[in-house]
């Protein structure tokens, strides 16, 4: 985990011992880095599903196309919910850093409510599509659509369960170092899901309506 010291920063860091002399890095850094690598592998998995969707986007087999199915207003609200929940998740990280219980609980509560609102809207969209016969078995396009958006929805569901469990841990154990590391991983996970959603709403919903 050592890093090369930039030449122009030499003066600032000269007095510091090098990382190899100081022993292994702090557990927070090691855990965070490991979770960072996991998230990247998760995003690679999303990329594979995403590529499948992009290839199959026009294979509607005579069934409804994206332009006929997608409701942009609902997508805009979903996007707003997820973006706002990413923001409150960031505020929660700050509250954890400064050990403020009330702000942490409040930010976590808003994050859960916004995430749940996102899920409800998405499930309503899925139910509406299945009700008019545009389920995943209708065409290759819809199979890919349900896989991609459903996979993201499953991640959001897992994130919500994770956050509720973490708040129970904060209530029972307080801001223990272990709990803090898990919360760091959670906020990484939640921000990464928002980044995946940026690509989803752009390519699936906005570009899908264009053609």
């Amino acid at each position: 985990m050592n890093i090369a010291v930039a030449v122009d920063d030499e003066v600032r860091y000269d007095a510091l011992p090098s990382a190899s002399e100081a022993g292994p890095a702090a557990k927070r850094i090691v855990v965070g880095y490991g979770f960072w690598v996991f998230l990247l592998s998760d995003i690679v998995m999303f990329a594979a599903i995403f590529a499948a969707y992009a290839v199959l986007a026009h294979a509607t087999a005579g069934g409804p196309s994206g332009g006929q199915l997608f409701d942009q207003r609902s997508v805009a609200i979903e996007t707003a919910c997820l973006l706002a929940s990413s923001y409150t998740c960031g505020l929660m990280s700050l509250a954890i850093g400064s050990r403020r219980y009330a702000v942490t609980y409040l930010a976590a509560l808003i994050t859960v409510v916004l995430g749940a609102a996102f899920l409800v809207l998405e499930l309503r969209e899925f139910a509406g599509m299945i009700a008019i016969g545009a389920g995943p078995q209708r065409s290759a396009f819809l199979s890919a659509f349900f896989t991609l958006v459903g996979c993201h929805g499953l991640h959001v569901t897992a994130g919500l369960v994770w956050l509720v469990v973490m708040m129970a841990q904060v209530a029972i154990k307080g801001f223990h170092a272990t709990v803090e590391r898990r919360l760091l991983c959670f906020s990484l996970f939640w921000h990464a899901l928002d980044i995946v959603w940026v690509w989803l709403f752009t390519v699936v919903y906005l570009m899908g309506v264009l053609s």
């Binding site: 920063d9 090098s18 923001y87 700050l94 940026v198 690509w199 752009t202 906005l206 264009l210």
Partner: protein, 131 residues
């Protein structure tokens, strides 16, 4: 962290002496990020629905807006910076982005016209004509 120059944990704000931040400036960073992300999202939805722009350029515009928004998320929410204390995280991220681009662009290129790329004529694709 302040004694040695390890990389910081991903998602943590920089703790380097010159960029040390209190909670209030932390809130400011997230708020700026949110404001920029909202502006970019609103632009994406406007670009997709307007008839003022040349239709051929809309997809490209949406791609650029999505990449910009991804950058905003990385910088303001995940605190990815050019600082020397985050080199390992950025290297891992760069490798992830490389794989993602290879998978998506590669799939699209190969699948753009399978018959061309496979160099099989229609008569070979039709199994009934083979003896």
């Amino acid at each position: 962290m302040t004694d040695t120059h390890y990389d910081r944990a991903p998602g943590d704000a920089s703790a380097l002496p010159d960029v040390e931040q209190g909670t209030s400036s932390g809130v400011l960073v997230y708020t700026i990020g949110l404001a920029l992300a909202v502006v970019l999202t609103a632009m994406s939805f406007w670009v997709a629905n307007t008839s003022l722009l040349w239709a051929g350029g809309v997809s490209l515009g949406l791609t650029v807006l999505a990449i910009a928004q991804m950058g905003i998320h990385l910088v303001f929410f995940l605190h990815v910076t050019t600082g020397p204390d985050i080199t390992n995280n950025v290297m891992a991220l760069a490798f992830g982005v490389l794989i993602v681009v290879l998978i998506v662009v590669g799939s699209l290129l190969i699948m753009a016209d399978p018959t061309d790329n496979l160099m099989i004529g229609p008569e070979l694709m039709n199994l009934h004509m083979q003896h």
